[in-house]
């Protein structure tokens, strides 16, 4: 709870640099910190200019893998703390770029931060770093081991895990004992500005797929509204700086069960829901009227069979990615939810936006932006309630 107090009494986090600040999460972090007037200054660093710059925020364009540019930038602006969200898009097939940005970029930022006197460093990791993409995760906590390399089918996840390990290892090193780090592992991020969860989910509605269900829908899944993830980052950063202040004033180190530095935290909406219920809520928010009695339930095996068939047919005729893949069927039928007691106890984390409210806002925003494949285009740019 120490963290909440620091933010509540208006104590400034100082000058915060947000990498990937033009991206989905980075943008939300900047907006939240600005709204709360939590920092004396915010600098957004991204490889591309921001589409919608926030008032009062400094914008810098640069490549995090470039040591020289980063050293120059950091020496010039002297940030107190760094929130590192920059990462290539998940569906990127370029392994080299993923490794370069996620692992080398992160290591570069850590080095530059340590050398230029940054005090706290919060890294956006992923809840997938403990998941092999196939098995169930039931109330999984942070004691679960990393799944990387050969055990990890998603190369992206391996790079996120390696970066997280590097971040946590940089906490209180011999050389830089005052440099504190933490990692946030969000699960299933969605919300305003999202491209990966809501838009494809909604396009299933516009393709008329709401009358199908694969599996028995007894699998709980964690989805996290984006402002909650931003809030988690804020709390972690505040806690690191509070720890740093406490030590600077000669007080005792935090106890093991209250320690934030060098730790990773799962962040969710604290409300695991049955997989299809989340989808149905999104569809309902877009106007779907399907009744349960109209829904066809297909077994998981049948779903896998159809997906395999489609993958083969699409591959044979070179049609690209089919509407249904085996990985999608597996995710649809998988239990995947996390225990967030650690974040609750040590960061004082509680979601600030409920799931239902988040879906309502996110769906409205996706349709407004017109990013849903198959959506009626008259909804684009139109305010609806």
């Amino acid at each position: 709870m120490a963290a909440l107090k620091t933010t509540d009494d208006g104590k400034s986090l100082g000058h915060v640099l947000v990498t990937g600040g033009a991206g989905f999460l980075g943008n939300h972090i900047i907006t939240l910190l600005t709204k709360r007037a939590a920092c004396s200054k915010i600098t957004c660093l991204d490889i591309r200019p921001a589409a919608k710059p926030v008032d009062g925020v400094d914008y810098a364009v640069g490549d995090i893998t470039d040591n020289e540019t980063m050293t120059q930038l950091f020496s010039k602006i002297k940030p107190t703390a760094v929130i590192h969200t920059a990462s290539p898009v998940f569906n990127n097939n370029n392994r080299e770029a993923m490794y370069k940005v996620n692992v080398e970029g992160t290591k570069n930022l850590l080095k530059v931060s340590q050398e230029t006197g940054v005090r706290a460093f919060v890294y956006t990791s992923s809840s997938s770093v403990i998941h092999d993409t196939v098995s169930d995760l039931i109330n999984a906590d942070e004691t679960y081991p990393y799944i990387m390399d050969d055990a990890q089918p998603e190369y992206y996840t391996t790079t996120k895990a390696k970066a997280e390990i590097a971040v946590l290892a940089a906490n209180r090193t011999k050389e830089y004992p005052k440099f504190l780090t933490a990692a946030i592992r969000p699960s299933g991020m969605f919300g305003e500005g999202d491209v990966q969860v809501l838009p494809p989910g909604l396009s299933a509605y516009y393709r008329g797929q709401t009358k199908f269900q694969i599996g028995n829908n007894e699998n709980l899944f964690d989805f996290t509204e984006i402002t909650n993830v931003a809030h988690g980052h804020h709390l972690a950063l505040a806690a690191l700086l509070a720890t740093s202040d406490r030590e600077a004033s000669g007080q005792a180190l935090p106890l093991d069960h209250e320690k934030v530095d060098g730790e990773a935290f799962h962040i969710t909406n604290d409300a695991p829901v049955y997989f299809f219920d989340f989808a149905r809520m999104c569809w309902a928010a877009a106007g779907d009227q399907t009744q349960l009695s109209q829904v066809w339930v297909l077994s998981k095996d049948f779903g896998l069979f159809v997906a395999t068939l489609m993958e083969w047919v699409f591959w044979l005729f070179g049609l690209g990615k089919p509407n249904l893949t085996r990985q999608q069927v597996k995710y649809t039928c998988m239990t995947r939810y996390y225990n967030i007691n650690k974040a609750k106890q040590r960061l004082g984390y509680e979601p600030i936006c409920g799931l239902q409210e988040g879906i309502r806002r996110g769906v409205k925003d996706a349709l407004y932006r017109g990013v849903v494949v198959g959506q009626p285009m008259e909804l684009k740019g139109k305010k609806i309630d």
Binding site: D136, L137, I138, N139, A140, D141, T143, Y144, P145, N217, E218, L220, A271, P272, V273, Y274, D277, F278, R280, M281, W283, A284, D288, Q289, T290, Q291, L292, Y337, N339, L355, Q356, I359
Partner: protein, 483 residues
């Protein structure tokens, strides 16, 4: 002798009959009353217990000897209070002091009450209430203090409600009022019982430091009853569903019962179910604090029945038409499972949470909230009985020694080979069938040469009618006219 209807019912539902027989045959009470040692007044008290309660009589009589009599008397005292509160033939001026002073009547071993209306079903209890007070004064002082304290607070609460004109005319207004009402009639019972259990050292004293847990135990039971009895209460002009909830769905409470409002009424009832089911995890937590089997059975059976009742009422339009009940077979099955251990009770809760979730309609305004509440029950159960942990995962990965890994690799390669063979066999079969069919067609005189020529010219569809065929022949076959 069971009626023909009953026999027919169980003939088509043998599993129900099986559950009933299993309960009757295999359930052994943890403790049994020793009737020989009981005096006449105590025997009379147990007779009242059986008379006034069907559901509680059995579990109370199986309680640990230390608590058997105190809990039985606690029940009878509250039942007596309830009989006065319920009786509409008693004038409010007379009723109020009776309710407020009811705890003091226990000191007077000769106090009885004859003025209940003739139709009050438990009137005999008050007519012969001296039996209860005589036995009450024999129990330990610690227990007496608890029972009197709860009786006093409940009596005062009931009196306040009896005086509250708005409540009597309009029913419960806000959700807060609704929970306060449930607190007086059920939450307090939960508190009293918990204090008795802890006093008798049969439950963990920590339960007293988490008052929200015992409150939820009572709230959960009471709210389930209020949901189930909506029709009956409406007929009796008693309104417990809070206006704050039903006014979101209909304008007037009685509109819930109109057939044209079916969907609205169901949405309203699911909001009631949602309010109740949010308490379920507290109830499981509470039960984890019970130390003795008979006490566990005593608290677990009603809870299991309640979650089953909630499931039965959820999305069920019948609750607005008549009084519905879980079947006797289901009840016996629930009792069998609720008299074992916490894990079995958790399984019941998980099963019914999933059943509720499977009936949850996306058109319901509380759809997602209900889904979250059901998921929360499952998650809570996982937190006390985890099916997975970092340790179980590690042991699975550590078990892979090089030998096993090599074998698994070989197996994987073998299965890959098998798939290749199968694909090959399938391909061969298809090729053979194709060849045979083409051969048969050729033998029968099919002109593949013509077909191929047509396809080469981009004509994919077969010619229609004899004239078109003739044209084709002329064009590609030099008009030989032979088919």
């Amino acid at each position: 002798m069971p009626s023909i209807g009953t026999i027919a019912y169980y003939l088509v539902r043998p599993s129900q009959l099986r559950d009933i027989i299993q309960w009757k045959v295999w359930h052994n009470p943890v403790h049994e009353r020793d009737e020989e040692k009981e005096c006449a007044t105590l025997k009379e008290c147990f007779r009242f217990l059986k008379l006034t309660s069907r559901s509680f009589a059995a579990v109370i009589q199986e309680l640990h000897p230390e608590l058997l009599v105190p809990v039985c008397l606690f029940y009878l005292v509250l039942r007596g209070l309830d009989t006065i509160e319920d009786d509409m033939t008693i004038n409010i001026k007379k009723k109020e002091p009776l309710l407020r002073k009811f705890d003091t009547f226990l000191d007077d071993e000769n106090w009885t009450f004859q003025e209940n209306g003739p139709n009050e079903k438990d009137r005999e209890l008050l007519v012969k209430f001296d039996n209860v007070s005589k036995e009450f004064n024999k129990i330990k002082d610690e227990y007496k203090v608890i029972i009197k304290d709860i009786t006093k607070r409940m009596g005062n609460g009931m009196a306040d409600y009896a005086l509250n004109a708005e409540f009597n005319k309009q029913g419960v207004n806000t959700i807060k009022d609704y929970e306060l009402y449930c607190h007086y009639v059920a939450g307090l019972v939960g508190e009293g019982l918990t204090r008795l259990f802890v006093e008798a050292k049969l439950a963990n004293p920590v339960l007293l430091q988490r008052p929200e847990l015992m409150e939820s135990m009572g709230q959960f039971l009471q709210q389930c009853n209020i949901i189930r009895d909506v029709r009956e209460d409406h007929d009796d002009k008693r309104y417990f569903w809070p206006r704050e909830i039903w006014s979101k769905h209909v304008d007037k409470f009685e509109d819930l019962f109109l057939p044209e409002n079916k969907e609205k009424a169901l949405n309203c009832s699911s909001e009631m179910v949602l309010t109740a089911i949010k308490r379920a995890d507290d109830c499981l937590f509470y039960m984890a604090g019970v130390r003795e089997q008979s006490v566990f059975n005593f608290v677990a059976i009603p809870q299991s029945m309640s979650i089953a009742t909630l499931e039965l009422c959820f999305q069920n339009p019948a609750i607005f038409e008549r009084n519905i009940k879980i079947s006797k077979g289901d009840a016996c099955k629930l009792m069998t499972h609720s008299t074992q251990n916490l894990q079995m009770v958790c399984e019941i809760f998980r099963k019914y949470a999933r059943k509720i979730h499977s009936k949850n309609s996306p058109r319901d305004p509380n759809f997602l909230e209900i889904s979250i509440a059901c998921g929360n029950i499952e998650r809570f159960i996982e937190s006390i009985f985890p099916t997975q942990s970092a340790r179980t995962l590690k042991s699975a990965s550590e078990a892979v020694d090089p030998e096993v890994a090599a074998r698994q690799k070989k197996e994987a390669e073998d299965s890959k080979k098998d798939i290749m063979y199968i694909m090959f066999a399938v391909g061969l079969t298809l090729a053979f069938v194709t060849f045979t069919m083409v051969l048969a067609a050729w033998l029968a005189g099919a002109r593949f040469d013509l077909a191929i020529k047509m396809v080469k010219d981009g004509i994919w569809s077969p010619p229609k009618g004899p004239e078109a065929v003739q044209q084709i022949i002329e064009k590609y076959d030099g008009g030989r006219g032979e088919l």
